[in-house]
């Protein structure tokens, strides 16, 4: 990125409720069994879309059949637009970052065609399995008129999405960009996490869902905080390479700037060494649940609202890439 960008507003939808304060609330959780081995249960915190305050989107015609992910995203993005009614929606871009994507309907659609027969696959479900469908619902309902990208990757794609926003702002393609990270929960993902050994060692984090969003603009005195650096592209293929990538990533930042402790999965052990020589910040709180790109968004929002005047927030991708941002208040 060439110039700092400003975070002008934020939005949150999480199991604790809506708005940034919900991130600090006690989240309702339950134990959910893995499918392949029901004896193994994991702690899970999910959002009840039928309950207030999440249910305000349920009766919108376009959202009646939409995926949970669509609902999480629209709630987070709507909070931003409600906080900043002054911005020109025709000049707002939207970048989404997703690790899991539309998992619930993808699993349901594939289960249907493999059990009922391919001829009976559901034409209602299929469009909702497409990765960019949730953001399409969001821009349609909220009348956002700028460019839209749905970006995928491991959790580090949050920093890649922030970089896309910085690019659009630098090129004057738009006046503002909303970057949103969101995920939805399906029990099959517990088997994914288990198979890929992503839970990590005890105390293991639970799995969660929801969305977080930030409104970005060119540097402004009205900002909640500024993003002064975005560093990404530290790739790895195995855990030995991941340790080196984490070292190299953090070496990019001034060692006097505290680093937020954001590792909530197998990367916790990985992060221990490179973080040992750094001043740590607990501005993102102790990670109890992992919601992937949504967690990255929430960690960014927590850092914005923390007392730290300057902090590095790393996004230690689960399986391929790492990135980090520097936030200045």
């Amino acid at each position: 990125m060439r110039d700092p960008i400003s975070i002008l507003a934020v939005g949150v939808s999480c199991p604790g409720g809506t708005g940034p304060a919900a991130l600090e609330a006690q989240w309702p959780s339950r134990r959910v069994s893995q499918i392949t081995n029901p004896a193994i249960t994991r702690e899970v915190a999910t959002i009840d879309l039928a309950a207030e305050p999440f249910n305000r989107w349920r009766m919108r015609p376009r959202l009646r059949r939409a995926s949970p992910l669509s609902h999480h995203l629209i709630e987070a993005v709507a909070q931003i637009l409600e906080a900043r009614p002054d911005i020109d929606l025709s000049r707002v871009g939207l970048v989404g970052s997703f690790f899991i994507g539309c998992l619930v309907y993808s699993v349901r659609f594939y289960k249907g065609l493999t059990t009922d027969g391919r001829r009976f696959a559901s034409p209602i479900l299929f469009p909702e399995t497409v990765v960019n469908t949730p953001l399409s619902h969001v821009v349609s309902e909220l009348k956002i008129g700028g460019p839209v990208y749905s970006q995928t990757g491991d959790t580090s794609c949050w920093s890649t999405a922030l970089r896309t926003a910085a690019l659009w702002l630098a090129n004057d393609d738009v006046e503002h960009v909303i970057v949103a990270g969101g995920e939805e929960f399906d029990p099959v993902f517990l088997d994914v996490m288990h198979s890929a050994r992503w839970f990590g060692s005890r105390p293991e984090a639970g799995v969660s869902e929801g969305a977080g969003a930030v409104l970005l603009g060119k540097k402004s005195s009205q900002a909640l905080a500024h993003i002064t650096r975005i560093v990404d592209g530290f790739a790895f293929r195995n855990r030995a390479q991941a340790a080196k990538a984490a070292d190299s990533l953090l070496a990019e930042f001034d060692p006097v700037i505290p680093v937020a402790d954001t590792a909530a999965n197998w990367t916790r052990r990985l992060a221990a060494k490179p973080l040992s020589g750094r001043m740590l910040s607990n501005c993102c709180g102790v990670p109890k649940f992992e919601a992937f790109t949504a967690t990255c968004a929430w960690n960014t929002i927590r850092a914005v609202h923390s007392a730290e005047p300057r902090v590095v927030v790393p996004f230690l991708g689960l399986s391929q890439q790492m990135g980090a941002i520097e936030i200045f208040r």
């Binding site: 696959a121 990757g153 690019l167 198979s195 399986s319 391929q320």
Partner: protein, 404 residues
Amino acid sequence: MKSSNEVVVTGWGCVSPLGGNTESTWSRLVAGEGVRAPITCIPVEGCRVTDGAEAVMPDLDWLPKKSISRLSRAARLALPAAQEAMADAGILDTNGRSIFPRLEMSLSTTANGMELGEEFLKGVWAGSFRHQTSRVSRYPAHQQVADLQQNLGFTGPAMVVSNACASGANAIGHAADLVRGGFADIVLAGGFEALCELVYCGFDCLQALAPDQCRPFDTNRRGLMLGEGAAFLVIESAVHAAARGAKVKGRIVGYGHATDTHHITQPDPTGAPLETCIRRALVQASLQPADIGHINAHGTGTPFNDSAEAAAFARVFTGNPAPRLVSTKAAIGHTLGAAGTLEAVFSLLALETRRIPPQIHTSDPIPEVAGWLARPGEVLEKPVVLSVNLGFGGSNAALLLAAA
């Protein structure tokens, strides 16, 4: 153009149903050949339509056998296309590794290594633990990113855009934006898509698949044909290309993108969002519609897409000589996340060779574009080509490509 950094293309490569590399694909495409055959690489029994266009899978004999067995079908398509593009641009060393240790990528796909995800789900439902780790770890798009980086010898930032069928044009446009904005000097841009059961059955259940040949812009069009493939381009700033003595093969002069909120699977019938994209690309390129000699259309062959697209073209080019129009999807099928990248390569090849692939299988064109469709042996007479893509969710994108 308005930007300070001129964006050039110095290499490209592709894998398609017509061939395992650019030369074989292009020679058959301009000869008017097409592919349509029963699908054998994935299970489609029970679907209403069971034909499509499978890619010619190149040998990956430059990779260790163990590595090949671990690759998803999408990665097997992406790797040779990327290797060809990098070799064409002269950025591979004698060992087949990138001469740039850090090389940014801008990629597109919609289904990733989906067949591995499907196998994982079947395994979960069967209570099986065998091979589940390799399946789940090789499915996501970022694993195809890792396959490219590991096997072609580089690292660096990678953006994967998944904007349905417009993703490929978005990936190239994003790469051009990165160069134009000074965020990168050189970018490997590309798209890849492998046929998979979930997506095939999805289009089948929407009754969007053509029961016979795909006939873009025909009054009797009955749907699309699914295909698979990959295409990559090396995109860099003119200054960077000149500094390393690279041959400029084409230029990216304009990019426009917009979202159509009309319906989740159907475009605005007026074509207005696509028209917006094209006009944005023209403004960025400081060009007029009359400057465009050829359009590589999205042209899926579905009733809704082609009529909306034709309406947009008719408005943009009113009062101007009609550009020569082709949808290459009639020949290679709709390759979804790879479509925009394959069609950009075909557009650049048209500029380089001055040959336009003929529109095949269309005998009774719709009125808006009657007389526009390219015939066999046509020559490109103007040095600018427009390539457009539309996707589910309303993603629209337009690229303007110019001769070197």
